[in-house]
C-alpha cells in the first residue's frame, strides 16, 4: 500500500521528528510513504480567524498535491478536521458566490481519503498493536478537534494500551479544551493561559512523565506552559510513541 504523508506546516517547520516518526512507523507496518513536495498548510489559521477567501488557494494546493493518492495520512487531528469539516464548507460557499464548482469538487475528492494517523492505523490498516515499546508513564489528552470534529473515540487509547512498557494514566477533565485554539491563544491570551494552567495542573496531578496528544499544536501550548513552570513533563506526539521500538526509543 502506498500513502501520501500530509505532514502539516507546524510539523514541517517546528516538529520534524513527528513526521519522521510517522514515516518510520508506517514503513515498519509495510506501507510505502510518499511526501508530495507541493503540499503546504491546510489553511486552518486563516479560516479560523475569518479569512475564508485566503484559504481557497490552499484548498486548491491540497487537491493538486494529493490528487493521485488513494490515502492521505496526517499526524494532526485538527488539520484532518479542517480538510474533512471545512473544505466542503469553503467549496459550497464559493459555489454559492457564483465562482463555480472547482473548490467543491476539490473538497469532495479530499474528504474521503484524508485520515488522521490513528484513524488510518485502526480503520484502514486494522492494527492496534504496532509493535511499539515506550517504557514511560503517559497521560493522554484527547484534543477537541480529534474528539468532537473527527470522532476519534478510543482509537488513540487502544493504540497506546498496546504499547509495551507504557503505563497510561487517566487525565482528569480530559475532554476539556487546553486553551490553544490557534489565534485564540493570542486574541484572548488571559483566558487561554487560564485554561492552559488548569490543563497543566491536571497533567501534573497524574504524575506521568509525558503528556501525549494527536496534535502538536495543542502540545505547543501545553508544553510551552509546562516548560515555563520548569516542569520536566515531556509533551510527546502519539506518532513518536508508536514509532518507538526496543531497538530505538525515540
Amino acid at each position: 500500500m502506498r500513502v501520501a504523508l500530509f505532514v502539516t506546516c507546524i510539523n514541517d517547520l517546528l516538529h520534524p521528528r513527528t513526521g519522521q516518526a510517522v514515516v518510520a512507523l508506517l514503513e515498519r507496518l509495510g506501507v510505502e510513504v510518499d511526501f508530495p513536495d507541493g503540499q503546504s498548510c491546510c489553511g486552518q489559521p486563516q479560516f479560523n480567524t475569518g479569512y475564508r477567501h485566503a484559504t481557497e488557494p490552499l484548498v486548491r494546493r491540497f487537491d493538486h498535491a494529493f490528487r493521485d493518492y488513494e490515502y492521505v495520512v496526517t499526524p494532526s487531528g485538527s488539520c484532518a478536521a479542517m480538510v474533512r469539516d471545512n473544505y466542503p464548507r469553503i467549496g459550497a460557499k464559493a459555489a454559492a458566490e457564483g465562482r463555480g464548482r472547482e473548490l467543491a469538487d476539490a473538497a469532495a475528492l479530499a474528504v474521503p481519503k484524508t485520515y488522521e494517523l490513528t484513524e488510518f492505523l485502526v480503520d484502514v490498516l486494522k492494527v492496534t498493536d504496532v509493535g511499539a515499546y515506550y517504557p514511560h508513564t503517559v497521560t493522554y489528552h484527547p484534543t477537541c478537534h480529534g474528539l468532537r470534529m473527527l470522532g476519534l473515540g478510543d482509537r488513540p487509547r487502544r493504540l497506546l494500551e498496546q504499547v509495551k512498557g507504557l503505563e497510561l494514566r487517566e487525565l482528569p477533565g480530559a475532554e476539556e479544551c487546553c486553551g490553544f485554539g490557534g489565534t485564540f491563544a493570542v486574541k484572548n491570551a488571559a483566558v487561554s493561559a487560564a485554561m492552559g494552567a488548569d490543563k497543566v495542573r491536571n497533567v501534573l496531578g497524574t504524575g506521568a512523565e509525558a503528556v501525549c496528544t494527536v496534535d502538536n499544536s495543542c502540545l505547543l501550548h501545553i508544553g510551552g506552559t509546562l516548560a515555563r513552570q520548569g516542569s520536566p513533563v515531556r509533551p510527546v506526539h502519539i506518532a513518536e510513541i508508536l514509532a518507538s521500538t526496543e531497538g530505538g526509543v525515540r
Binding site: 501520501a4 513536495d37 478537534h145
Partner: protein
C-alpha cells in the same frame, strides 16, 4: 459592576479582568461543573435524546421558515381569547409600549418573573425613568437586583455570587426595597430562601401589574408557556390584575404537540431535571381566573435581520437552556459579564453580534471569544452549530460582506483595527501557496535559531507571557526528506 451593559469593554479586556478574580473563578467553576455533571446524567437517561434533539431543531427550523404565518396565527388566537397584541420593532418601541400600558393602569410598581427579553431591552431602567419600580421575583434575579448587579448566566443569573455574598446583599439592601432581612440571617440556603420568600410575598400580594416573558408561545391556541423551578413566576402570572408579556418573536411553536419535544429537552438540558417543577400556561383572559387584562408585546429587535442570514439564523432556535454556558471553558473563566449582554457564553457570542450588529468593539470581539473546542455544539439540545456561526461571524468582522439591517440589504465594510492581521494572514497564505518561499523562510529561521528572542514583541507577547516559545529545529521535515530520500515528489503536482 453597575447595572448597565452600556460602555462594556471588549471581550478580551473584560475576560482578562475576570480571570484575575479568584473568588469569581472558584464560584463559576464549582457551579458549572456541578450543573454539567448533573445534566450529563439526566440526558443519559433517555435513549432517544438524539432523536429528540433532531426533532427540536426541525420544529424550530420549520417554524422560523414560516415565522410570518405562525405569528399571525398566534396574534389571531390571542385576540380571540381576549388578549391584546402589540408589535415592537426594537427595544425603544417595546419599552414605550410597556411603559404606556403600565401608566394606563395608574400603578407605580410592577412584579416581574425572570425574563431574558426584558433584560435585553433594558425594561427595568426604562420603567424607572418613567417613575415605575419593577420588582424582580426570581430568586437569582432578586439577588442581582438588590446587588445593583447584572445577570451573568441565562439560568442562574447570580451564579457569580456565593451564599455569603448573598447574605450580605440581603442584609444590606432588602430593607430599602421592602421587607428587611430577618435579624441574624445566616448564609444557610434554607434561611436565605425563607428571607427571599417573606420579602417577595409582600410584593405578590400588593402588585396590580405583572410583567413576564415566555419560554414558548403556541400559535394554534395563542397560549404562552413559562417553565420555572420556584413558583414565583406563577405568582406573577396569576395574582396581578394586568399581565404584560414581552416575548421574542422566535419563541413561537406551531402546536401544543410540539411542547412534547421541548418540555423534555429544556429541563434536562438546563436544570438537569426530568420535568421542571412549574409549567404555567395562559391563554388570553378568563372570567374569575387570573389577570383581567392581558397584553402580549411581540419583540423583533434584530430577530428578523438575523433570520435573513442563512448560516446565522440557527441561533434563533435557542431555547435558553444554558447548557452551552455550563460546558464552555471560556465562559467558565471569563464569567458572564464579559459578554456584555444578558446572553453570555457561546450562545451570547453568536446571538449578540447578530441582534445588535457587529460594528461595535464588543460585538466584533465576541465571535473570537471561543477556542472552537465544539463542546457547546455537542450539548446544544436544538443542535445549534455554534462554532460554524462563530466562524461565519469572524469572516463578517474581518472581511465584511452582505448583511440585513432593518429589513434592508447592505454591504458591511471590514471592521477597523484588523489591517495588520489581515496583511499577516494574507502574507502567510501566500507563502504557504509558494513552497519555494516557505522553504527559504524555514531555512533562514533554522540558521538564525540561536538568535531568536525568548519573549516576543507585539501580538506575540501575549503568547510568551505565560508560555515558552518552541525551539526552531535545525532542519525542517521537508529538508530532512529531501536529504534522506533524495527524490522530491514534485511530479505529484502542486509546485508552481
Amino acid at each position: 459592576m453597575s447595572g448597565t451593559y452600556l460602555g462594556m469593554p471588549d471581550f478580551p479586556r473584560a475576560a482578562a479582568a475576570a480571570t484575575r478574580d479568584t473568588r469569581l473563578r472558584a464560584n463559576l467553576t464549582h457551579a458549572t461543573h456541578t450543573i454539567r455533571d448533573k445534566r450529563a446524567k439526566a440526558v443519559a437517561e433517555l435513549d432517544d435524546w438524539a432523536q429528540l434533539r433532531a426533532a427540536g431543531a426541525a420544529v424550530k427550523d420549520r417554524t422560523l421558515r414560516h415565522l410570518d404565518h405562525y405569528l399571525e396565527q398566534l396574534e389571531a388566537a390571542v385576540v380571540a381569547a381576549g388578549g391584546q397584541v402589540h408589535w415592537a420593532v426594537d427595544a425603544d418601541e417595546a419599552n414605550r409600549i410597556v411603559t404606556r400600558l403600565v401608566r394606563e393602569t395608574g400603578e407605580r410598581e410592577v412584579v416581574k418573573v425572570k425574563s431574558m427579553a426584558t433584560q435585553e431591552i433594558g425594561l427595568n431602567e426604562a420603567l424607572a425613568e418613567a417613575g415605575i419600580r419593577a420588582y424582580e421575583t426570581d430568586l437569582a434575579e432578586l439577588i442581582v437586583q438588590l446587588g445593583d448587579d447584572l445577570p451573568s448566566h441565562l439560568l442562574v443569573p447570580a451564579i457569580h455570587r456565593n451564599r455569603s455574598e448573598i447574605r450580605d446583599i440581603f442584609r444590606r439592601e432588602m430593607g430599602s426595597w421592602g421587607r428587611p432581612a430577618p435579624e441574624g440571617l445566616s448564609d444557610s440556603p434554607a434561611e436565605l430562601a425563607e428571607a427571599a420568600r417573606l420579602h417577595l410575598r409582600e410584593k405578590f400580594l400588593s402588585a396590580k401589574v405583572g410583567i413576564s416573558g415566555a419560554n414558548f408561545m403556541v400559535a394554534e391556541t395563542g397560549t404562552l408557556v413559562v417553565v420555572e423551578s420556584e413558583g414565583n413566576g406563577r405568582m406573577c402570572l396569576t395574582l396581578p390584575e394586568t399581565l404584560i408579556s414581552v416575548v421574542g418573536i422566535e419563541k413561537v411553536v406551531p402546536r401544543w404537540q410540539d411542547l412534547e419535544v421541548f418540555l423534555q429537552l429544556l429541563p434536562r438540558s438546563s436544570t438537569a431535571e426530568r420535568m421542571n417543577p412549574y409549567t404555567s400556561t395562559w391563554t388570553g383572559t378568563t372570567d374569575g381566573d387570573g389577570p383581567r387584562t392581558f397584553h402580549l408585546v411581540l419583540l423583533d429587535n434584530g430577530r428578523t435581520d438575523t433570520l435573513a442570514d442563512t448560516v446565522g439564523r440557527q441561533a434563533l432556535r435557542c431555547i435558553r437552556c444554558s447548557a452551552c454556558l455550563n460546558v464552555c471553558p471560556v465562559y467558565e473563566r471569563a464569567g458572564g459579564h464579559a459578554y456584555g449582554s444578558p446572553y453570555p457564553g457561546p450562545i451570547g457570542a453568536i446571538l449578540t453580534p447578530q441582534l445588535r450588529g457587529i460594528e461595535g468593539a464588543l460585538e466584533a470581539s465576541l465571535p473570537y471569544a471561543s477556542s472552537l473546542c465544539g463542546a457547546c455544539y455537542e450539548v446544544c439540545p436544538v443542535a445549534i452549530d455554534i462554532p460554524e456561526v462563530l466562524l461565519h461571524l469572524r469572516e463578517r468582522v474581518v472581511e465584511g460582506g452582505p448583511v440585513t439591517r432593518r429589513g434592508a440589504r447592505t454591504v458591511l465594510q471590514p471592521a477597523k483595527g484588523h489591517a495588520a492581521e489581515r496583511a499577516a494572514m494574507r502574507a502567510a497564505a501566500w507563502a504557504f501557496d509558494h513552497p519555494g518561499v516557505l522553504r527559504a523562510g524555514a531555512r533562514l529561521a533554522a540558521r538564525t535559531r540561536r538568535l531568536h528572542p525568548r519573549r516576543l514583541p507585539g501580538p506575540g507577547r501575549a503568547w510568551s507571557a505565560t508560555r515558552e516559545l518552541p525551539a526552531v529545529p535545525a532542519e525542517s521535515f521537508r529538508d530532512w526528506w529531501q536529504r534522506t530520500r533524495g527524490t522530491s515528489s514534485e511530479r505529484q503536482g502542486g509546485a508552481k
